[in-house]
Symmetry: C2
Subunit: 463 residues, 2 copies
């Protein structure tokens, strides 16, 4: 007999009811009476458990009654309608083999554990309801992203992880090296001799694949990246991790409006896909993690996103009558409190803020005709603030060179990036979506450590 999964039983119940089936899984709880007992079994394929009923007819009845949480078992028996109201069916065990016992000190007992504690057993926490839901949603959302872009003809590009350049001066970088630390090779002048490092020069972990993605957009038209990126900032906050995944689409022959249209379509697509394909998990988050979650997400799917310029946003904030911790002034970056006011109180829906002062944005963003602002866009969403940041890129070689000079960048290092403007450059635009921020937004989880399988943060690279 072929084994089946608990997911199969739930979604195609009619194929299995009153038939003999075989399942595997891990024991969540055992309630043993003198002559019979119940096991809540989970096999990881579905959020819900399967109730297994067993009695003295089992050859190993006594041993089964002593099973502890976490044990792995294989069960054969008939799937029947359940007399209990809590589940649609139950499995009447005819034989039950114990595949792997669990030790009595199994850390995941029935009581509620704190997320802090569960982080110390990151290898076991996906066996809990919360983290099973988080990481299934993570997988589902990742697939939704690939599906969205591939169905629209975007080419998936693996931009390099190890890089010789600093993509945007965006942050502190991790160095990658094979040099021996005990005795650094030095040149004549006593400086560390990087020509003897693996790549023959200083290399770091990437902070963004955008610049390389631009090269591919100017060949394929539409491309996207989806890969890990890194920041070495010593930020011990609930929203920062040293290692996180990012999605960066890039489109040739596209302007800022096309960019915003893509971002809006993508976000709506991902949310809809996850709501449809992980409904039990999303209901769980709505009930136990974040009460307004489903309503908020459904609003996002149904809303037309707002559009204002940065300059208009400053006016709205100044006229709001709110007391903000950080001052509101043209030329300063918007803080999370400002972003949340605009999206949660003023618009009550996601809003694109565009055309930021050039001084607070990266060198590659396209200069507007006013000479003061650039064609940037940030998408602000209720409950979280900025979730996407993008821009139309500067395609004019002379403007780009000027901006690089202003910011003190070495143009020789960017020779190939400048080439893209020299040989058939086009308007082009793209954005970055932090994948973990997205998962926090989708699940209501408030600490980035709880949406990454094995998080990397300052002083922490366990597992």
């Amino acid at each position: 007999m072929e084994k089946t999964t608990i997911k199969e039983l739930y979604i195609r119940k009619e194929n299995y009811l009153n038939k003999k089936i075989k399942v595997n899984g891990w024991v969540r709880t055992v309630r043993a009476s003198k002559n019979f007992g119940f096991i809540e079994l989970n096999d990881g394929t579905y959020f819900a458990n399967l109730q297994v009923v067993y009695d003295e007819n089992l050859a190993n009845f006594k041993e089964v009654s002593k099973l502890v949480t976490g044990s792995a078992i294989r069960v054969t028996g008939e799937l029947v309608e359940s007399p209990g109201a809590k589940q649609p069916f139950e499995l009447k065990a005819e034989s039950l083999e114990i595949e792997g016992h669990s030790a009595p000190d199994y850390p995941l007992q029935k009581k509620r554990h704190t997320f802090e504690f569960l982080r110390t057993i990151a290898h076991l926490r996906p066996r809990t309801n919360t983290f099973s839901a988080v990481f299934r949603v993570r997988s589902t959302a990742a697939y939704a992203i690939h599906k969205f872009f591939q169905e629209r003809g975007f080419v998936y590009v693996h931009t390099p992880i190890i890089t010789g350049s600093d993509a945007e001066g965006a942050g502190e970088m991790f160095r990658v090296t094979t040099l021996g630390f005990d005795k650094m090779p030095r040149d004549d002048r006593g400086n560390v001799d990087f020509t003897r490092d693996f790549f023959g020069k200083e290399t770091n972990l990437t902070v963004s694949g955008q610049l390389e993605a631009e090269a591919y957009a100017l060949a394929f038209g539409n491309v996207y990246t989806f890969g890990p990126t890194f920041r070495a900032e010593n930020s011990n906050t609930p929203r920062h991790a040293a290692e996180f995944w990012m999605i960066e689409p890039e489109m040739a022959f596209a302007d800022l409006q096309d960019d915003m249209d893509l971002a809006e379509d993508m976000l709506k697509y991902i949310i809809s896909y996850v709501l449809k394909n992980a409904p039990l998990e999303m209901q769980f988050f709505n009930s136990f993690i974040d009460k307004g979650l489903l309503e908020r997400l459904e609003n996002v799917v149904n809303a037309d996103f707002g559009h204002i310029t940065y300059t208009e946003a400053i006016e709205i904030l100044k006229n709001s009558g709110e007391q903000f911790e950080y001052p509101v002034e043209w030329g300063h970056d918007l803080q999370t409190e400002h972003e949340r006011y605009i999206t949660e109180k003023h618009f009550k829906k996601p809003v694109f803020v565009t055309d930021y002062p050039k001084e607070i944005k990266a060198f590659y963003m396209r200069m507007n005709d006013d000479g003061k602002t650039v064609a940037a866009m940030d998408l602000l969403a209720p409950g979280v603030g900025e979730i996407i940041g993008g821009s139309q890129r500067e395609e004019r070689l002379e403007h780009l060179g000027k901006r690089m000079d202003e910011q003190g960048l070495n143009k020789e290092e960017y020779w190939w990036y400048l080439d893209l403007r020299k040989y058939g450059g086009t308007r082009h635009a793209g954005f970055g979506l932090g994948f973990e921020r997205l998962i926090m937004y989708l699940t209501g989880m408030t600490n980035i450590r709880d949406v990454i399988c094995f998080p990397r943060t300052p002083k922490n690279a366990e597992f």
Copy 2:
């Protein structure tokens, strides 16, 4: 008028023929006569070009006639059936705007360039036929992999890139650090003080996500990884890169046979998907890169893969009458020449070789009852040799501990990995597929540098 893509025109020709359309793209060639001209236009969405016909009625006729290869243009006009036999239709330009000129020193001229030269302009090479085909196939194959696993309920897991442990002693690792190289912090005994490094200890780039994937398989049942991995070996060969992507599925309640079934199904799925979804590219490879490619791939899809043990493989090789460079002896690893003999000459189809001597395999592979071999499998494929390597994992705590002791591994570092055997351990199995090796196999390209967008190899981290 909405712009359309050249792909759209080819796959839904009937919707556009004899209608006015608008397209963007880059000029591949211009053939200008006195009163008219032809432009081969490519927009990156499709392998084939669109022929644009223009004449003196264009306001900027003279300028258009001077366009050079690589220029970016926007064209509006009527799509009509082509009198020429080389293309099904052509675009009669009514207006043609020049979006971005290309400089006359554009390195991609019509002549044939060597792959070596094209590696030096990796930012432009996706604009050539060969690399456009390679990287579209790469994207298509990546999506096929996600689709295959997601449709079967496998959960996608992002295992960590930065790691504190060496997954299998598999190879040299890159160190990741934020320590200042000029003045290393040292402890009382003069050793480098890693407690002052970003993570408070020594960290490296991962060589495999398998161990972490095992933790997730024992929660979700079936999982897979798809992410970058790293090797710091100083190997300057056509088959080695320092940074490459790997797919590592892992299944709980599964043995070596299940593992081989999955590998066979997956490989056939990927090949079929790519043949169906990138047919022009695959024909191109078959015509210009590797004459027998399509036949070989179709054979793989239709064959039942062979199965032999390592011990049987040694017998076959000994009895082959072939002169091998490396000796054939039980206990030694199979070399590529041996693998290719078995798969190309003896079986003439893909073959799983199983049950290798424990001495030449990793500590986590399950010990067979003979006490000499482990439940490992390598899939050998004609034209390439080993393409997949996997095993059933040792789920028995005492056996695993013994193997780790034998190989001198520090069990304390692997506390969480051992926990997986302590708390409801199950039979489980998985494998690794090197993504670049797969792309080489699918395309016939023979140098790994030509299937990675921006390859990282010893002394090379350009772009």
